[in-house]
């Protein structure tokens, strides 16, 4: 039985490292290869031992697809390709291919900086991994091999994020990755055509949330920043290299311009130029507004945001600084935080998730006395704010996407179990499709009905057409023939041709039936009565009475005989060929009703 199998190694009922294995029509595909930032040991990577059991990884997996550049979707890729040993193709969009190594490199530097870790991938490994990447364009159908094809659709979320359709023959799966159904300041909304996949694998981060208006959150953010700098305070915004940082930069840049503010805004680590470069390069991936105004003014060429120098942190007076890393666990952002933490006029705005153990996590959970290296205690007097700007589809958006794609079934990943359960019921009720939510390591198996292409012989087709029945796409019609399976091909031919091709002799198959009739007359007389009855009933057929006393109608033979036990009864022996099965059945039924009474 053909089937689609899905096993999440990560992102099954959790929001950790995404890694989903899909098996479709004999092809094996890995969707995303993410890392969990909350662990410092091998637990940060998905447990690949479950696939290495199936022999050599490169032989087992047909391809890896990366939906976007966030580390929880691509962070384990160099480990997987350069340390575990996958040597096959990796697909992602062009912007993801460009930005992914920057983030991987950024993370590697922080990991090595902080931990001095040995079992971590190197710069060379990241580069070698990126050399295995095949970049794809939106809506371009890419043949992975003769049977497997993939196609990318726009997903919003971050620059270059894509949903992927994976197709083998008539079977298909769509994987959304992370997506956003509402446009934001620099990106558009996710879109997919009515591709009716067998299965839609969708993220469900905000499965139960109808998100509050984005404008409100933005206003709130700007108000907080403005108030702080107005009273002479400094604002620290820890961010990761690329992604949300750009959204916030556009927001502040526009606000500064409108309010004619002079307070300096800095962006550390030279990433502004890099981001600027990529946003210019991939301008077609941004939203309509940015594309339209690009000719007059590039939104990513910031007038107010300048490159940060380490010495600036000591400057008196207000300023806003974007610094990496985003969880305040090492490097520049932590250094600036330590300097500014003691002043209540200052503020730190955390725009994203922080894992346990990081300073970001501690201050977000309200801790105000932090023990630092060398038993020093850092008292946090500055204000701490959390402001989520992540761009995921909310419950409404997810339902909208399901409606757009019209899948036969849905599978939820990248979310919390309780919230998924709510959404699962909603989807099943509204769309009348099955919805699954496997935990990590659980396999969902979906039976499919693949359409098998069958070639039809010209001879058979001509014979059908000769009967005046032209084939019509919208009116399916019954056609008899012999199906030949040869060389992995299916062909429908006439039985004569099949015999010829296969070198077989024809065998006659006859059906026989006994009809009992109460009649005392002799057998010959009985046969004559049958002949007369059939002759009068079957006007269009050739009914014959043969010299041996038997009656024939086409290939059907009827003989009358005496009943062995009952002298008052006669037996009619009816036999017919396979070709005349319909007529044979009709005649038997007719004779079973008895013969008409002869006038005495």
């Amino acid at each position: 039985m053909p089937e689609i199998k899905v096993t999440p190694l990560g992102a099954g009922q959790d929001v950790g490292r995404s890694c989903i294995l899909v098996s479709i029509a004999g092809k094996n595909v890995m969707l995303d290869c993410g890392m969990h930032m909350g662990f410092n040991d091998d637990r940060r990577f998905p447990d690949f031992s479950y696939i290495t059991q199936n022999g050599r990884l490169t032989d087992f997996l047909d391809c890896v697809i990366i939906s976007h550049f966030h580390l929880d979707h691509c962070g384990a890729l160099p480990y997987f390709s350069e340390m575990v040993g996958y040597d096959g193709p990796i697909y992602m969009t062009h912007p993801t291919q460009a930005i992914c190594p920057i983030l991987l490199e950024d993370y590697r530097k922080i990991a090595v900086d902080k931990k001095g870790e040995a079992n971590f991938f190197t710069s060379q490994m990241i580069k070698d991994c990126m050399k295995k990447v095949v970049a794809v364009h939106l809506h371009q159908t890419v043949q992975v091999d003769d049977e497997l094809e993939i196609k990318a659709y726009y997903a919003g979320h971050v620059l270059g994020a894509a949903m992927f359709q994976i197709k083998v023959g008539s079977e298909s799966v769509v994987y959304t990755g992370d997506y956003n159904m509402t446009p934001d300041r620099h990106l558009g909304a996710a879109w997919i055509d009515k591709c009716r996949p067998n299965l839609l694998i969708t993220e469900s981060t905000y499965a139960t949330t109808i998100r509050d208006s984005k404008r409100c959150r933005e206003r709130d953010f700007l108000k907080k920043v403005h108030e702080t700098v107005e009273r002479g305070g400094k604002v620290l915004i820890p961010v990761f290299a690329l992604g949300r940082a750009q959204e916030l930069c556009i927001l502040l840049e526009t606000f500064w311009e409108r309010m004619n503010l002079k307070v300096p805004i800095y962006f550390s680590t030279g990433l502004t130029e890099k981001a600027n470069h990529y946003y210019k390069l991939f301008i077609t991936w941004t939203n309509q507004k940015i594309r339209k105004t690009f000719v007059q003014r590039n939104m990513f060429e910031f007038k107010h945001i300048k490159a940060f120098d380490r010495a600036f942190a000591d400057n008196p007076g207000p300023m806003v600084v974007f610094a990496t890393p985003g969880m305040l666990h090492a490097g520049q952002s932590l250094q600036i935080f330590r300097k500014w933490a003691g002043n209540e006029k200052n503020m730190v705005i955390m725009p994203g998730y922080c894992v346990q153990g990081t300073v970001g996590h501690k201050i977000l959970s309200g801790q105000r006395k932090l023990e630092m290296e060398g038993r020093q205690v850092l008292e946090v007097k500055m204000q701490v704010e959390y402001m989520s700007f992540s761009a995921h589809a909310d419950a409404k958006g997810i339902m909208q996407l399901v409606g757009q794609a019209e899948p036969e079934s849905v599978l939820l990943v990248h979310g919390e179990a309780k919230k998924m359960e709510f959404l699962r019921q909603k989807i099943e009720q509204e769309f009348r499709v099955s919805c699954y939510m496997p935990a990590n390591g659980e396999t969902v198996t979906l039976p499919t009905n693949p359409s098998i292409p069958v070639g039809i012989s010209l001879g058979l087709l001509k014979r059908e057409m000769a009967q005046g029945l032209l084939p019509e796409a919208k009116k399916p019609r019954l056609l008899h023939g012999t199906l030949i399976m040869k060389d992995s091909n299916f062909r429908l031919v006439s039985s004569e041709q099949a015999l010829k091709e296969l070198g077989l002799a024809e065998h006659q198959l006859r059906f026989t039936c006994r009809v009992h009739l109460q009649d005392t007359r002799k057998e010959q007389e009985m046969a004559l009565r049958v002949y007369s009855h059939l002759k009068s009933t079957l006007k269009d057929h050739c009914v014959q009475h043969l010299p041996d006393g038997s009656v024939t109608v086409e290939s059907i033979l009827i003989q009358a005989a005496a009943h062995s036990e009952d002298p008052g009864a006669k037996v009619l022996l009816v036999s017919w060929t396979y070709q005349d099965e319909e007529l044979g059945s009709f005649l038997t039924a007719l004779l079973k009703k008895g013969l008409p009474q002869t006038p005495s």
Partner: protein
């Protein structure tokens, strides 16, 4: 346990069993468990429970919760925690007294609750049991609690993780039972294994006879892991009991669970317990090799050949299986009848292999890729079969590559079909090139070398070659150029290489201009390796300098792709070291050279990406180390200029590389560092070219101290660590400096120390300015560099990783969980 942790623990336990509270981060419970494991490994669990009664309360409370209040995560955690404690026998007894273990792991426990449907709970239950079963009491408990039956059904769990954990636990129980038996002499009679082990063996036996493939697979997997992990003499008894059942599986057609069966046979064969040659095992393996499909037999053949001890006949059979696909390719494509010898031995399974190769494109590609990878793995091993049919393999790989690029035109119908299946197949091309590269080792048939060079050149030249194929082709070419031994009596690069190089450089030129950055980068990496090895060879120099390659490499210093710029920097650094970056007789040689230093300094100061800047810093360090002519001209100016740029760099790896440069410079001026081990052989001391006071004066002028002190307080740990090592070296080297006076002005020293304190506090402030050596040395001596070195070695997150921090975070999170909705990117 730390008193602070003991103080926090009751509150945390209370939070965990409170259904109204949720633990925010799913990693927290994992980390908490890690910590408990460390604590119990270091001391008595019983004492821990007695000193912290809240832990037992936690376990009891979990059992008392109403079904709807049970959190699967906390329950799973509690099960694993209980197992961790019960791993020590006295603690096991303690928990048993309170019937806690039976409550948690018995039939009336979570096993029958609604939350059992959550995989995390099932997984926690198994892992808890696995921790618990470490002693005889644990084994009895497992047998009495009815858990073994549950484990049997969990082997077929819908979750891979749960199923695998269940199998692992069964293996663990078997291994533990056999270890316990190790003292007595093994005998199949009088089997007195623990009841649960007997039950497991009976279940495995029944499963092996089952008609359901899944059950057979589970039984085989349990046995594979058992024989792989446990090498007690009792495993032989176990195998003696089970091997007839395993052999019986071969009677079925098709063989059920063939993949698992292969794994089991290899696992048994690898076990040292069976080293005394088990004839029946070898017979089973031989039968298996002959009746499996070529794709299934491949791993068995490879595994067999990798065995340390194995009958020669079986090795020959295995090798024939491995070679068969390539033999078939040669036969199908050969114009003349196939070569004699090895090929004749392989006729037996020929038709099956041909069928696989011709049945479909994917089967053909799959079998060839697997075969080539297996042979590539086998070739460098000491167990590699002899005689190794080098010529046959080379011919086969060359013809496969020709089938892939379409240049082969076989006349037979099989050959044409192979051609259709392999034409343009990147997967096979990559596998073949990987193996071809490996074949360069141990080649003695010189006549085939031109053929190999020809196909490599064709692949490198072909416009149809994908970037990944080109990368493999470059690697294979490098192997063939560098590893191939020269014929005896041959000087220089050998007879073929010079000719090949003349054809190669035009191709390399083309590839350096490729629109794909991957190709440009692979070409540069190839050139760097080649010139590092052959830079001194006249033929190589001539061919390189006659081409446009050095010029193109120079141009790639301005490539839009940072990876390529970085590789170009490395290549140019390499070429320049060998005097290869331009025609040596060109009049403008020195200008070109000066231009290169300038160009690299330009990259170091302005490139927006870290890779090229890091590459430049590395090249400069190498140049300094090898006394490159341009560096030697004015070393002090060079080092000072580089440091000035590097100190401003935002990439800590560039700054760290700058410290490396200083280290090399100091070693050259002050001598090598003292060997850290008193028994190490002391290197002859380099006498500084100038007296120490002068050297120190120079170092001060070059602002090396300013750079090193600033780096000491760098926000990135590796930089600070390196700077600390460097300053310690300087302090040691200058300690016996008799030529220096005590600093005349103590206020200078105080001012330096004040500046350093400000830097340590994170302020950037003013530079140290021009300093007197005496002042610097006094400041250096007053610092606790050893203390700092120790702190830096601890890594900056030892505080965050502490259990105290974890407990505080978990408690603090509860309060604010509702405010910050879980978010991710």
């Amino acid at each position: 346990m730390d008193p602070e942790c003991s103080r926090l623990l009751p509150a945390l336990c209370a939070v965990l069993v409170d259904p109204r509270q949720a633990v925010a981060d799913d990693t927290c419970l994992e980390k908490l468990l890690d910590w408990f494991r460390t604590v119990t490994e270091a001391g008595s669990s019983l004492l821990l429970l007695q000193e912290n009664p809240c832990l037992v309360d936690l376990l009891s409370h979990v059992l008392d919760l109403k079904p709807q209040d049970v959190s699967p995560r906390v329950l799973s955690f509690s099960l694993r925690l209980a197992g961790t404690f019960a791993a020590q026998e006295d603690c096991f007894e303690y928990l048993q007294q309170g019937k806690l273990l039976l409550g948690l792991f018995g039939e009336a426990g979570p096993l029958s609750w609604a939350v059992w449907s959550v995989p995390t709970v099932r997984s926690g239950w198994i892992q808890g049991l696995k921790s618990l079963v470490q002693h005889p009491s644990g084994l009895h408990f497992l047998g009495d609690s009815g858990a073994v039956d549950a484990l049997f059904s969990l082997q077929g769990d819908s979750s891979l993780f749960v199923a695998s954990a269940a199998s692992q636990l069964l293996v663990h129980v078997l291994a533990l039972s056999m270890q316990g038996k190790a003292k007595g002499s093994p005998s199949p009679k009088g089997n007195a294994w623990p009841a649960c082990a007997q039950k497991i063996v009976a279940h495995v036996e029944a499963s092996l006879c089952s008609a359901a493939v899944l059950q057979v697979t589970q039984a085989l997997n349990v046995l594979t892991t058992t024989f792989g992990r446990c090498h007690s003499p009792w495993t032989e008894v176990l195998w003696g009991q089970l091997s007839p059942l395993v052999a019986h599986l071969l009677e079925s057609d098709p063989i059920p669970a063939a993949h698992s069966l292969v794994d089991l046979l290899l696992s048994v064969a690898r076990s040292p317990v069976f080293a005394s040659a088990d004839c029946a095992l070898w017979e089973t393996m031989a039968r298996m090799l002959s009746c499996l499909s070529p794709t299934q037999a491949g791993p068995l053949a490879l595994g067999t050949l990798k065995l340390q001890h194995c009958p020669q006949a079986l090795r020959s059979q295995a090798f024939a299986v491995l070679l068969q696909p390539l033999v078939c390719i040669l036969r199908a494509t050969a114009q003349a009848p196939g070569p004699p010898g090895l090929l004749d031995e392989t006729v037996e399974g020929d038709s099956m292999t041909v069928d696989t190769l011709l049945s479909s494109k994917s089967a053909c590609v799959g079998l060839l890729c697997q075969t080539l990878a297996h042979l590539e793995e086998l070739q460098p091993l000491p167990q590699c079969p002899l005689p190794w049919p080098q010529t046959l393999l080379m011919e086969a790989v060359v013809i496969i590559l020709r089938l892939c690029d379409g240049s082969a035109a076989p006349s037979s119908s099989e050959g044409r079909r192979l051609c259709g299946a392999l034409a343009g197949c990147v997967r096979v091309q990559r596998a073949a090139l990987g193996f071809l590269g490996m074949l360069s080792q141990g080649t003695s048939s010189w006549e085939l070398v031109p053929q190999v060079f020809a196909i490599l050149l064709e692949t490198l030249e072909s416009p149809a070659s994908s970037p990944t194929v080109l990368k493999k082709a470059f690697q294979a070419t490098l192997h063939w150029l560098l590893d191939t031994p020269k014929p005896p009596g041959c000087l220089g690069l050998g007879p073929h290489a010079p000719l090949f190089l003349r054809e190669l450089f035009p191709v390399l030129q083309k590839r350096l201009c490729s629109p794909c950055w991957e190709v440009r980068d692979s070409a540069l990496e190839f050139l760097t390796h080649l010139s590092a090895c052959w830079g001194g060879e006249a033929d190589f120099r001539e061919a390189l300098l006659a081409s446009e390659v050095p010029k193109l490499t120079w141009q790639l210093l301005r490539d839009p792709e940072s990876y390529v710029r970085a590789s170009a920097v490395t290549t140019m650094g390499q070429l320049s070291s060998q005097g290869l970056q331009a025609a040596s007789n060109s009049p403008g040689h020195s200008e070109v050279q000066q231009g290169l230093v300038g160009e690299l300094l330009h990259i170091l100061s302005v490139d927006s990406e870290g890779f090229p800047r890091r590459a430049v810093a590395r090249v400069f360090t190498e140049w300094l180390r090898n006394s490159h002519a341009d560096v030697a001209r004015d070393t002090e100016w060079f080092v000072a200029t580089v440091l000035q740029m590097v100190s401003q760099d935002l990439d800590w790896e560039v700054r760290a590389q700058g410290l490396e440069l200083v280290q090399v410079f100091l070693a050259q001026t002050l001598g090598q560092p003292n060997p850290p081990c008193p028994y190490a052989v002391a290197l002859p001391k380099v006498t500084p070219p100038s007296p120490l006071p002068e050297v120190l004066q120079t170092l001060c002028q070059m602002q090396i101290f300013d750079f090193a002190f600033r780096a000491l307080f760098d926000c990135d740990r590796p930089v600070a660590q390196k700077a600390c090592d460097l300053l310690l070296f300087l302090r040691d080297k200058t300690a016996p400096c008799s030529g220096l006076q005590e600093p005349g002005n103590s206020s200078d020293v105080a001012s330096v120390e004040a500046t350093l304190e400000r830097w340590q506090a994170g302020e950037q402030g003013q530079p140290l300015g021009s300093l007197e050596p005496e002042v610097v040395l006094a400041a250096l001596r007053s610092m606790d560099l050893e203390g700092l070195q120790g702190r830096l070695a601890e890594s900056s997150d030892h505080v965050e990783k502490s259990p105290q921090s974890l407990l505080q975070d978990m408690l603090a999170t509860v309060a604010v969980l509702e405010e910050n909705v879980a978010d991710c990117y």
